[in-house]
Subunit: 188 residues, 2 copies
């Protein structure tokens, strides 16, 4: 899939998760995409816990996810992205590990979209419980978790169609300035 | 360009910046890619200051960039990505604005790569001075700045070749676990 197409058709699809297994090769491809992201001083603070054991997925979702995210239990794969904030640059309280995890995560999401797989990065979970279930060390912080799955029916494009129609984003003119804060970029 | 190709060939190329102007349409396309990123609760905290005025680029780079980043002065376009941390979710000190800016920035970088343009996200700058030059409000934090430019010579692929050969990343086996922290994913 073309890059711009993957960027524009990537959307969060927790309601479209098939329980059909995802091949190990595809799991590796999305992790490989994440691995290639840039990071501050190339420190690469990211770690990924990939859950494929159904019992552990059940335990984690039921025990640590917010109510609205319980639907993710369907997924055959869950990927947790986390880091130790001490492993990355901090500038006057600006903790770059989170920025760097965002860079890596977007690569992962786009690679999944390209492979026809659905994702949904979720921040609604009990971090303490999640870390407990998975044995993630005390000093680490979990940024998000995403299910990775085939869509319930049809292709990725079919599954995403309705959701993309409803997608809500600020206009470019609301979030961009030219040369100085407050000066319109006139992007039409 | 195929998504996986853009992800694998994206690299930071501050030594390859041509001063040739970048068309407004291409600037808009990379901003549009950033705009479509996901964010916590869809809060979209991102703002972009696009600098195309040569005098302002000169002033900002000379006055606010670290020594190693002075070379970016060549670029015809600089893009600053920033947000007010109060505009996004905070969970026990975990400030999601940085994660969300990372998601948006990676879309921007990949769209640029796809268009044959070079980028280099930089965190080495004086945030106070930069905000002063551009009039960015007190409460905002700048995550990174990237030049956006055509490569000095040849295509993107030509320009990136040497740098990609030298790219250093942790192995997948060092950063991934299966089902539980410490348990090898065996990614070969």
């Amino acid at each position: 899939m073309e890059t711009i197409k993957a960027i524009s058709s990537r959307t969060s699809l927790k309601t479209q998760l098939s329980s059909k297994p995802v091949e190990q090769d595809k799991i590796n491809q999305v992790l490989e995409a994440a691995r290639l992201a840039p990071s501050a001083r190339n420190l690469q603070p990211w770690y990924f816990v990939v859950i494929t054991d159904k019992k552990i997925i059940e335990e984690v979702v039921t025990g640590a996810f917010s109510e609205g995210n319980q639907i993710a239990k369907q997924a055959p794969v869950m990927i947790v992205i986390c880091a130790d904030p001490n492993d990355d640059v901090v500038v006057a309280g600006k903790e770059y590990y989170l920025f760097d995890l965002g860079l890596a995560m977007e690569n992962l999401l786009l690679a999944a979209t390209d492979l026809g797989l659905v994702t949904h990065p979720m921040a609604g979970f009990s971090e303490g419980k999640l870390k407990g279930f998975l044995g993630i060390p005390e000093t680490f912080r979990v940024a998000v978790i995403t299910p990775l799955a085939y869509p319930i029916s049809g292709s990725y494009t079919d599954s995403a169609q309705e959701r993309l129609k409803q997608r809500s984003r600020k206009k470019l003119s609301e979030i961009t300035y030219l040369n100085r804060w407050g000066k319109s970029l006139k992007v039409g």
